[in-house]
């Protein structure tokens, strides 16, 4: 009689302990995902803040490339107005591509390339570009860890008990897979 009671009590205690640890692990990973998406956001904003400066500097030199310069201004506008994480990331990619084109074209303007202000902006933007890439990588790593916990036993059971949804990976956009012909160094 007694041993059975103890076994049941022990099993319940073990289950509670397990639930407690999984609950916390899910909480930690969810926080990490949120934190890493905030990181991406910060970098996207930093980049958007530098764009008007860049446009000012470039305008005087690139008289025949008005449409390219305009596309950067437009992309920035879309990014600043974007709501929600997915939309922001998408707008960020468009802006990144537009900036890539500007820097590629800048290769043909020796005067512009000698401009100290432009070089400074180019350096700064390229380092932000790196940081965005790193932030996305960390975001995807965090999602992977969350996903692993969600889809393996017994995490999958607790995931449905605690109602933890699937979270999407950030896709690397098609266009940015092609190497942009810009030398940053």
């Amino acid at each position: 009689m007694f041993p059975i009671l103890w076994v049941i009590l022990g099993a319940v205690a073990l289950l509670l302990l397990l639930a407690w640890s999984y609950f916390n692990r899910f909480a930690v990973l969810t926080n990490r995902i949120e934190n890493s998406s905030a990181q991406i956001d910060v970098q996207l904003k930093k980049r958007a803040d530098l764009v008007p400066n860049l446009v000012e500097t470039v305008k005087g030199y690139m008289k025949h490339e008005k449409s390219v310069v305009q596309s950067v201004t437009d992309a920035r506008k879309v990014l600043v107005g974007a709501k929600g994480f997915a939309e922001k990331v998408k707008a960020g990619d468009v802006l990144g591509n537009a900036l890539g084109r500007i820097f590629a074209i800048a290769e043909n303007y020796p005067n512009l390339k000698a401009n100290e202000n432009f070089l400074e902006l180019q350096r700064e933007l390229s380092s932000i570009e790196d940081k965005i890439a790193y932030a996305r990588q960390f975001y995807n790593d965090s999602i992977l860890e969350y996903d692993n916990l969600r889809s393996t036993f017994p995490g999958n059971m607790f995931a449905s008990i605690f109602n933890k949804p699937v979270k999407p990976y950030l896709q690397i956009p098609e266009s940015s897979r092609e190497p942009v012909k810009v030398k940053f160094d």
Binding site: R32, N35, S36, Q39, Q43, R123, S127, D130, K131, Y134, A135, Q137, F138, S142, L144, E145, N148, T152, D185
Partner: protein, 296 residues
């Protein structure tokens, strides 16, 4: 595969925290034993001496724990990096911190023509990374990324806590026993104590001889697996093994550097560049590290 690696890192963190704790206990015990032995030669108040000695020992461990990073930075003569002058370094470290989910460490620079680097501190929030001027001059952006990501992995794994504690705590034991040994040699010629002291004298000498050897062995035992793990962690952060490989190759062609023996295990690559294999090596050989990275 990925999951296994993460569990490995968690094991490593737990191991480092545990080791740091035990190291503190062992160092405390050794200090007390040393104090007791030295106390036998103190003519005056033995208990008074021991009380002061115990307070000193506790204070010593406390200071080592909280100021280990500062002590190691002072030991190599490093200065805080100017954010304007070293803009690129700050940018690289910030990017890598983002990629590894760590807070941004403080950045220090030490004047030295050899390519090298180290990280120190008690945890990620109080971490520092230090680069030699040689590393900044001779390495390009990708190489530096590899080296710095290696150091960030040491931070992430809590290697910095244990290794710095070893360097700082153990460094002093060797100094104390050395002083003790020397004073025995010169100071006790006309000792007229009774023969009970002869045993203590023997113990004292034995301790003084053993302490530095133990120190050396501890130093040697700590680094090798850590270095391989940090290399792997570096690649996990940068996703670009070539940077780290290039950095290691450039170090291969470099000259050895002069640095305090106690802090040698902290460095990215063995500063002394000793060619004596196995027992007296704190770091795995460069060729082995390069080979493993190239196979990734």
């Amino acid at each position: 595969m990925k999951e296994i690696k993460h569990i490995d890192f968690r094991d490593q963190i737990a191991r480092n925290k545990r080791n740091s704790f035990f190291l503190s206990i062992v160092v405390f015990a050794v200090l007390i034993a040393l104090g007791y032995t030295i106390g036998q030669f103190v003519r005056a108040d033995f208990f008074g001496f021991m009380i002061i000695w115990i307070i000193f020992s506790i204070g010593y461990i406390w200071v080592s724990y909280y100021f280990s990073a500062n002590i190691s930075l002072v030991a190599v003569g490093a200065k805080k990096a100017d954010p304007k002058q070293y803009r690129q370094i700050y940018n690289i470290v910030e990017g890598l911190s983002i990629a590894s989910g760590l807070p941004m460490p403080k950045i220090y620079i030490m004047q030295n023509p050899q390519i090298n680097a180290f990280a120190s501190g008690r945890d990620a929030k109080n971490a520092v990374v230090c680069l030699t001027t040689g590393a900044i001059e001779k390495l390009n952006k990708d190489d530096l990324g590899g080296v710095l990501a290696h150091e960030l992995t040491h931070i992430k794994n809590y290697d910095i806590r244990f290794v710095t504690l070893v360097a700082v705590m153990v460094g002093l034991i060797s100094i104390i026993s050395e002083i003790f040994l020397r004073s025995l040699w010169y100071g006790n010629r006309n000792n007229d104590r009774k023969n009970g002291n002869a045993i203590l004298l023997v113990i004292g000498i034995a301790l003084a001889i053993i302490a530095p050897i133990v120190v050396k062995l501890v130093q040697l035992a700590i680094s090798r697996r850590r270095e391989f793990m940090a290399d792997a962690g570096s690649v996990e952060i940068t996703r670009y093994p070539k940077g780290l490989i290039e950095a290691l190759k450039k170090i291969k062609g470099d000259k050895p550097m002069k640095v305090n023996q106690a802090v040698a295990p902290l460095f990215f690559s063995d500063p002394t560049k000793s060619r004596i294999i196995s027992l007296f090596q704190t770091h795995p050989p460069l060729d082995e590290r390069i080979r493993i990275l190239e196979s990734m």
